[in-house]
Subunit: 185 residues, 2 copies
């Protein structure tokens, strides 16, 4: 199998250019994986992807639920990129009667009162795209439904039991990082 | 000025609990800023916010442009969180005739062919929410219009001159980080 551009191997120099780090760093990092390239030809792309996926535990398809189908939630549901990382948005939930029952990208929007079905469906990841004021209460319902990992877009702090992992993505904070790198004037 | 909860000071222990790190780490990090708390009462919240904002260069209101007003772009335009970090979405652009001329959150959507007006408006930050296939060509137009920092939601690599900083936010990759922390089974 070749990558999108048809290459079988990639050198640390090319990888380094692509992501903007030093090629020594690439070689050093990959050597920690016990994955060493071949001098002169670089890393076998297929093997490298397999190795990284296994380290990141994304070798099997994971089911995730989306909670909150507003503008952001709709964007997430329509987003083609999840399959690349082995994700399948298996369920979506909202409070709005106008949205419940509709389908986006083949996923039917369910009433948020039915979050408990996640336990039966064995979905243990959730994407939280509800308004801030509903974030904590929704999180508690997700935890009750057996969710173990939450990707939080609400930009507020979520209090969860220790066994649950929350990753918070604050779009405004990402934007706020930019001026730091830009010379004044 | 007190914070939202009415407190004037916060201890490193409280801060540590809030963000899930060790309180020693907090004290160590803040000491690098030359900002030391008072034993027994902690850090003055107002001063701390001021200090962090000045380090991050977000003490003045920064103007940013949004390019691509699809589901994600609409979510970004409606998002109240930018003001907290001193951002003002000063312009929005799209290709769709159905969108051009409309207003979201008081921002009028302009024709994407008018990106050059960013130079005149002195907007040097942009949020890129266009489909992947349009990301590189739009980026080149933004750079020509004087944009120095790009928050890229297209999940593809953007080639830019060295003076331009790109931060790429890949929602699927954020989700992909979760299983790593979750015990199997």
């Amino acid at each position: 199998m070749a990558n999108e551009a048809g290459a079988l191997c990639i050198s640390s120099t090319n990888l380094a250019e692509f992501i903007g780090v030093n090629s020594c760093q690439i070689r050093k990092d990959f050597s920690y994986f016990g994955y060493l390239g071949i001098r002169g030809s670089g890393y076998n792309i297929e093997k490298l992807i397999k190795k990284i996926k296994s380290i990141l535990k994304i070798t099997v398809v994971q089911k995730a639920a989306l909670v909150g189908v507003g503008n952001l939630g709709s964007a997430i549901l329509s987003f083609p990129g999840f399959a690349v990382y082995g994700f399948n948005i298996a369920a979506a939930f909202d409070v709005s009667p106008q949205k419940i029952g509709k389908k986006i990208n083949n996923v039917k929007i369910e009433n948020i009162s039915k979050l408990w079905i996640l336990k039966r469906k064995k979905v243990n990841l959730a994407i939280l795209a509800v308004p801030s004021e509903a974030a904590q209460s929704t999180t508690e319902k997700l935890v009750k439904a057996g969710v173990k990992g939450i990707l939080n877009f609400s930009s507020c702090y979520l209090s969860v039991p220790k066994k649950v992992k929350v990753i918070t993505t604050d779009i405004a904070m990402e934007l706020a990082r930019l001026p730091y790198y830009i010379p004044a004037g």
